[in-house]
């Protein structure tokens, strides 16, 4: 038992990976082994990461629950806490409490095709599900990943993108915004919704998981609808400002729905029920 709800686990930063300008991935290991043993989570959940003396910040767990012994998080340096996190070195100790929130219903997706569509820094919440699915590859039919970023530099998880590209059981399409390409860029050029339209994945027996900046999401949904995806077969995540992570601090609710408890994973059908306040 944690002393109280707000007590974080102590985590040691085991490895820092530089992903893109301002974006880093931390591999975190529990300082106390006992904590690790009782800790479990599922794809889609998030946590509160803290630098002692600076504060807490909310982001997803980016590693899949199928990989034991550590968790990973990927963040972009933007605010007070992410700046402080960014200053941490390997071996530093930070706090983590969680997991919070709901999960992607991966079990329900057995026997289906999976289509992942991500933009920019929104690949991390999806990476957890992608690896989770790939680690249980036999459970699913075709796996397609469409990932776009502003420029080649802004693509995160570059090594993993290479892995996915080489795998025969994954179809990976990467794209960058026009003028974001480098001379040796071999991927697509164009905005994510356009590329989705161009690739035109089949909606038959397919689950689409879409994460990205609001503008990308806004233009991707109609494309998917045109391709025949139902609102129930499209999943996305909502991000709202949070302090507690468990439905008390009063920030993240969209109408009656608390993103921290009822989310962050929503189907498009659920999203359409929500008032326009996110």
């Amino acid at each position: 038992m944690m002393d109280n709800l707000y007590m974080p686990y102590l985590m040691r930063i085991d490895r820092i990976t530089y992903e893109a300008p301002g974006v880093k991935t931390f591999m975190l290991k529990f300082v106390n082994e006992a904590d690790q043993e009782k800790f479990s989570y599922k794809a889609g959940q998030f946590g509160e990461y803290s630098v002692y003396g600076v504060g807490e910040s909310t982001f997803c767990i980016a590693s899949p629950p199928t990989r034991k012994g550590y968790i990973e998080c990927t963040f972009r340096q933007t605010g007070k806490v992410t700046n402080a996190l960014s200053d941490c070195e390997e071996g530093s100790i930070i706090g983590f409490r969680g997991p919070y929130g709901n999960v992607f219903p991966i079990e329900e997706w057995k026997g289906k095709n999976l289509l992942f569509i991500a933009g920019g820094i929104a690949l991390p919440p999806m990476r957890c599900v992608i690896w989770n699915a790939l680690d249980l590859r036999d459970n699913f039919k075709d796996v397609t990943i469409i990932y776009g970023a502003r420029t080649v530099k802004d693509l995160v998880y570059k090594d993993e993108l290479k892995d996915w590209e080489l795998r025969k059981d994954v179809k990976l399409v990467t794209t960058v915004d026009p003028d974001g390409e480098s001379p040796d860029w071999k991927g697509e050029i164009g905005f994510v919704p356009t590329i989705v339209e161009k690739i035109a994945p089949s909606s038959k027996g397919t689950i689409a998981i879409v994460c990205g900046p609001p503008v990308m999401i806004k233009y991707t949904f109609p494309v998917l609808a045109k391709l025949g995806f139902t609102d129930e077969s499209i999943y996305t995540t909502l991000e709202n400002r949070m302090k507690c992570g468990f439905g008390k601090c009063g920030r993240c609710n969209v109408g009656k729905v608390y993103v921290c408890k009822d989310g962050p994973v929503f189907t498009l059908a659920q999203l359409k029920e929500l008032p326009d306040e996110y």
């Binding site: 504060g55 605010g79 007070k80 700046n83």
Partner: protein, 266 residues
């Protein structure tokens, strides 16, 4: 205020302004702001001695400003605030029309802010006798006694920021107290957080505060925070001469004189 109602109707009907900010009867003995957007609503306008809220706080409010050209029923403190705001480029003749209410409760419609300024300058800003007495009392205390006084007075403060919200000069979209890089002021309302917040507030209002007491009137706990700004006002007068908001924009704290006098720099 028959004149005001009549004029408000004309201004709205002829679309000279989109919204007129005045007072209406509130709960019990309170009065409150009324935003007249339809001529019929003008009948609810009132004016009497209870109307002390500084309506100038609304002319910088996003949701009000977006309506279009505003007119404001302005008492002397409100007019002073408007001149100060104009000197800080927050309002101008194109977006604000001032219907002045003189200390004798007469209505004057000003053609432009220059006229408002001329009117305002006829009256010096004077600290009222009761507060003057309080300032004297505090100044006669020892520094340790004053420290205790403020620790006691500020301890109930829970930092609801009603003082900031009610102040026409606190229009910043992001206040220093909301910054966290660096964290200038502790967020929780403990002793340090409260002390630093009120010092910061007072110093940022120095040379801009026109002594309308909106902060004090807004405080749900009636903490005499206006004494801080009054002290600054009194000191500014002593050191740099009588203070009046002016369209010239020579703000007290952003100007200097090469011969400013002090007695503490070694």
């Amino acid at each position: 205020m028959v004149d005001l109602i009549k004029r408000a109707k004309e201004l709205i009907e002829t679309s000279v302004v989109k919204v007129l900010i005045g007072y209406e009867q509130g709960t019990a003995n309170k009065t409150r702001a009324l935003f007249v957007e339809k001529a019929d609503d003008a009948d609810r306008l009132i004016f009497d001695s209870r109307c002390v809220q500084n309506l100038a706080a609304y002319v910088t409010k996003k949701e009000v400003k977006e309506k279009g050209k505003m007119a404001i029923a302005a008492t002397l403190p409100v007019m002073r605030s408007i001149i100060q705001l104009a000197s800080e480029f927050q309002v101008n003749d194109n977006n604000l029309l001032v219907l002045g209410i003189t200390p004798e409760s007469k209505l004057i419609e000003f053609a432009n802010l220059v006229e408002v300024e001329t009117f305002v300058h006829k009256y010096e800003i004077e600290i009222d006798a009761r507060n003057k007495e309080m300032l004297d009392k505090l100044e006669k205390m020892t520094q340790a006694e004053r420290w205790k006084f403020w620790m006691d007075e500020l301890s109930p403060c829970f930092k609801c920021y009603a003082c900031r919200a009610a102040c026409p000069m606190c229009y910043c979209s992001r206040c220093t107290v909301d910054f966290n890089q660096p964290q200038w002021i502790p967020v929780p309302s403990h002793e340090l957080g409260n002390l630093e917040w009120h010092i910061m507030r007072a110093i940022h209002l120095t040379g801009r505060c026109i002594d309308c007491d909106a902060c004090y009137n807004a405080c749900p706990l009636s903490i005499p925070i206006n004494l801080l700004t009054k002290k600054m006002l009194a000191d500014a007068k002593e050191h740099f001469g009588a203070y009046q908001p002016s369209l010239k924009g020579d703000h007290l704290m952003s100007t200097y004189k090469p011969d400013d006098k002090e007695n503490f720099i070694q």
